[in-house]
């Protein structure tokens, strides 16, 4: 195939001309699209994201233009993908951990200000009762005020006209006004309508029978403070907490996101309603991960030893049956267990009831819930350990066992004096990886218990079976307060744990690159 492409130089060069055009054309289109995105983000004051895409685009152009960076062209898409979806979110999360980003402080300062300044209220003083007349050119409004009456030009409500001027008028209206029922039918259109008086004042519908003047709710002063025109209270921006506050400290909603330094971390340490649950969850997370590794390893090693034994027949059958839990998608088997462990209808309780007459409360008793989680996770995880151990056992020289048998050693002696010492070194990095995986085993908790039963007295959602990662997930996504800042701070702490584990792992496994 290579000789084919190389045989005719004329065609080759014409091909390469087209290819050069294609290449530069594609690059130009991509850069244009990227620049549009960057400018749009910049215009919306999303500086972090604008910066992110600027860096990405710039490095893409550099890699694809420079001859020196030829090798990097091959790795660029993958590295960019990891940068965008792994490393950037990680750094962004660490950043959020130092802010008060949450449901109450979601917007930026500018967005909050724009939001407040766009608010309006209807005047109590300037009110007009109105009647609506249908003419051939459209609807005509007749407004009756205390001092004067106003009438509008015909408005084509059905065709989407949403504003009309009104002028002072004397006398009484002609014709039959629309009935209240007909006005109700038009209420959608009427609620969006603005009537504008001669002096530029805007009127909007206040009730089915009246229109009232609209006033902006807030006035912005040069010193940055806002005055509520309705109540006369003045609010000052508080950049420490991200709220507009009046003299008494009352805050205006919504607030904006501000940097609050280490407050989220301090909260975890000092606020008893967070510290207690956090500590309990941390201990449980550690014991869960350690127990899982021990249980799955013990079971996996035992089964691997049996499967390696020469005397055992039917190894293929046993092997297939034993790895079955690993082959079934975890999200299905976890849900199957959730159903089987159900207190009233679950088959496990039916069996226990029949055998021992007990009906344990798997989901509402903390100790039982934790036991259930360990049982399910051992079921899910032992085949992996078994497969690992089978691979490692094959590397142990058989004559070691011959020799020990000559000396009269039993299986237990063999295990602790030959097998374990020989496999523990290659196994260690994999055990650490397994520990790290289970430390963050979100899917198991989310699908099986969802963290329940809850810890009493916690100010954030926290359950006795929550792992740290499901705890952060619940703080961020399942709590009404959506305290992203606190969740990100806890996530950052987990990042440190995971990072340390993976560094140790890298050292232990002595990977050559």
């Amino acid at each position: 195939m290579i000789t084919e492409t190389l045989s005719s130089p004329g065609i080759e060069s014409r091909h390469s001309m087209t290819r050069v055009f294609l290449k530069w054309g594609a690059l130009a289109v991509l850069v244009a699209a990227a620049l549009y995105l960057i400018l749009a983000l910049y215009a919306q004051r999303e500086f972090v994201f604008a910066m992110l895409f600027l860096v990405l685009t710039a490095s893409a152009v550099a890699v694809f233009v420079s001859k020196k960076l030829y090798a990097h062209r091959y790795i660029f898409p993958a590295i960019a993908g990891m940068g965008l979806f792994v490393i950037f979110p990680l750094m962004y999360t660490v950043g959020i951990g130092f802010t008060n980003y949450s449901a109450s402080n979601l917007l930026s300062f500018q967005q909050v200000q724009e939001n407040l300044l766009s608010r309006t209220y209807q005047s109590e003083a300037v009110r007009y009762d109105y009647q609506l007349f249908k003419t051939e050119e459209g609807y005509v409004f007749w407004l009756e005020g205390e001092h004067q009456n106003l009438t509008s030009t015909p408005v084509n409500l059905e065709n989407g006209e949403r504003s009309a001027p009104v002028l002072p008028v004397s006398g009484t209206p002609q014709g039959e006004p629309l009935s209240i029922r007909e006005i109700i039918q038009l209420r959608g259109e009427l609620s969006e309508l603005t009537l504008i008086t001669e002096d530029g004042r805007e009127l909007s519908q206040a009730s089915l029978r009246s229109f009232a003047a609209i006033h902006p709710q807030f006035t912005l002063h040069d010193n940055g403070s806002l005055t509520n025109n309705q109540t006369g209270v003045t609010y000052f921006p508080d950049q420490e907490t991200g709220f507009y506050r009046d003299g008494d400290g009352n805050a205006l909603s919504p607030g904006w996101t501000v940097n609050i330094g280490w407050d989220n971390y301090l909260k975890v340490v000092s606020d008893p309603s967070i510290r207690g649950p956090f500590f309990e969850i941390f201990v449980w997370t550690l014991s869960f991960a350690v127990a899982t590794v021990i249980f799955t390893l013990a079971l996996g090693l035992l089964l691997a030893n049996l499967l390696q034994w020469d005397q055992i027949r039917g190894k293929g059958f046993y092997r297939t049956m034993l790895i079955l839990p690993y082959a079934v998608p975890a999200f299905i088997s976890i849900l199957v267990f959730k159903g089987l462990f159900n207190q009233n209808f679950g088959e496990i309780n039916l069996v226990l009831e029949g055998l021992f007459g007990i009906q344990p409360n798997w989901f509402s008793d903390p100790a039982l819930a934790r036991t259930m989680i360990l049982i399910v996770n051992t079921w899910l995880g032992y085949p992996y350990m078994m497969l690992l151990c089978m691979g490692l056992l094959q590397a142990i020289p058989r004559d070691l066992y011959e020799a020990s048998a000559m000396d009269g050693a039993g299986p237990v002696n063999n295990l602790f004096n030959i097998t374990l010492p020989l496999i523990i070194k290659p196994l260690m990095p994999l055990l650490i990886a397994s520990f790290a995986f289970n430390f963050n085993n979100f899917v198991l908790i989310a699908l099986l218990t969802g963290g329940a039963p809850d810890i009493i007295g916690a100010s954030t959602p926290a359950g006795t079976t929550d792992l740290l990662v499901s705890y952060t997930y619940r703080i961020a996504f399942q709590d009404s307060g959506q305290n992203f800042g606190l969740a990100a701070a806890i996530a950052t702490a987990i990042f440190l744990v995971v990072g340390a584990l993976s560094l140790i792992n890298l050292k232990l496994s002595k990977i050559k690159v």
């Binding site: 960076l69 962004y92 999200f331 039916l350 790290a436 995986f437």
Partner: protein, 296 residues
């Protein structure tokens, strides 16, 4: 064969067989139970492992066909299981193709080329691969929210977002393919380059055809991992008809709407193909999985 045989060996072999069979019986109990439950009528019926009066009602519902019981009451399928399965397969196939294409090209560069920062990048990929995406969900959510404002098919609640987000997990596959490339003798490619082939041609026409087995393995691995991905899909997807199976399946078991029988049929229906694929390919998959330590 061992030369030294203790006298008790026979009993120990027997005990091992019995022990393993008993263990397998316990291990398979949940799986057999769920198959049995899928054939029971009603969502709360208890019974033995072999259903006394088998009914196909849950299977009709799982396949999206309304079921009319003997009492004449017609039940509508509670959830679009087949649509979820289709969504999952669609997302998994597209992202597996993308992952395969991108990780193969980068693995080639890592295996065959010399460039600045190669060792550093490879090692950092191993480290970052251990960080679970569920911890940066807030950031990922914000990222896709922003992208979605400008590129609608990549925003929140789109399959595009889930596909693109799955590209973050490529490090493992790059390592797997790189390991395979390292094991292939490079003299063939060098000869082709001496004869005037470009690096790309040497890669495309010589190395790739030799690496088909590992490409198949990586494709299947990426496919299964995307099918089973739960945290990102659960945050990025909202509408019922957009959900993947992994996110949708749990809706059967809500406390207030507990559809145990319907779930059983849906679980068997959707879990069986994946289980069969896994068992069929286990010889190749296990090597890749155990090297990286992905599943618990």
């Amino acid at each position: 064969m061992a030369m030294v045989e203790p006298r008790s060996t026979k009993y120990r072999v027997l005990a091992s067989h019995l022990g393993m069979l008993a263990f397998i019986a316990i291990i398979l109990f949940p799986l057999l139970m769920v198959i049995s439950i899928s054939f029971r009528s009603g969502n709360f019926a208890a019974g033995s492992l072999l259903p006394e009066n088998p009914s196909l009602e849950h299977w009709y519902l799982a396949l999206g066909i309304p079921y009319t019981g003997e009492d004449g009451v017609t039940t509508q399928p509670p959830f679009p299981v087949l649509l979820w399965l289709w969504n999952s397969i669609k997302i998994a196939v597209v992202s597996a193709v993308l992952i395969l294409a991108l990780s193969t090209t980068s693995a080639y560069a890592f295996a065959r080329m010399r460039f600045a920062g190669k060792g550093f990048v490879l090692k950092s990929m191993l480290i970052f691969q251990m960080f679970p995406p569920v911890l940066s969900l807030v950031a990922l959510y914000a990222l896709f929210d922003q992208i979605g404002n400008h590129v609608s098919w990549l925003g929140l609640n789109t399959h595009g977002a889930v596909i693109v987000a799955s590209l973050g997990g490529m490090a493992l596959h790059i390592w797997t393919i790189k390991g395979y490339f390292d094991s292939i003798d490079r003299s063939l490619e060098e000869a082709a380059i001496v004869d005037g082939a470009t690096t790309w041609q040497a890669f495309r026409y010589i190395l790739l055809p030799l690496s088909v087995p590992i490409l198949v393995v990586v494709f299947i691995l990426a496919f299964i991992m995307t099918i089973m991905e739960y945290p990102m899909a659960s945050v990025l997807l909202v509408d019922t008809d957009k959900l993947t199976l992994a996110v949708g399946a749990q809706q059967y078991l809500y406390e207030q709407n507990y559809l145990w029988g319907d779930f059983a049929a849906a679980a068997v229906l959707s879990g069986l193909p994946i289980t069969v694929i896994f068992l069929y390919c286990q010889k190749w998959i296990v090597g890749g999985l155990t090297a990286g330590g992905v599943k618990g």
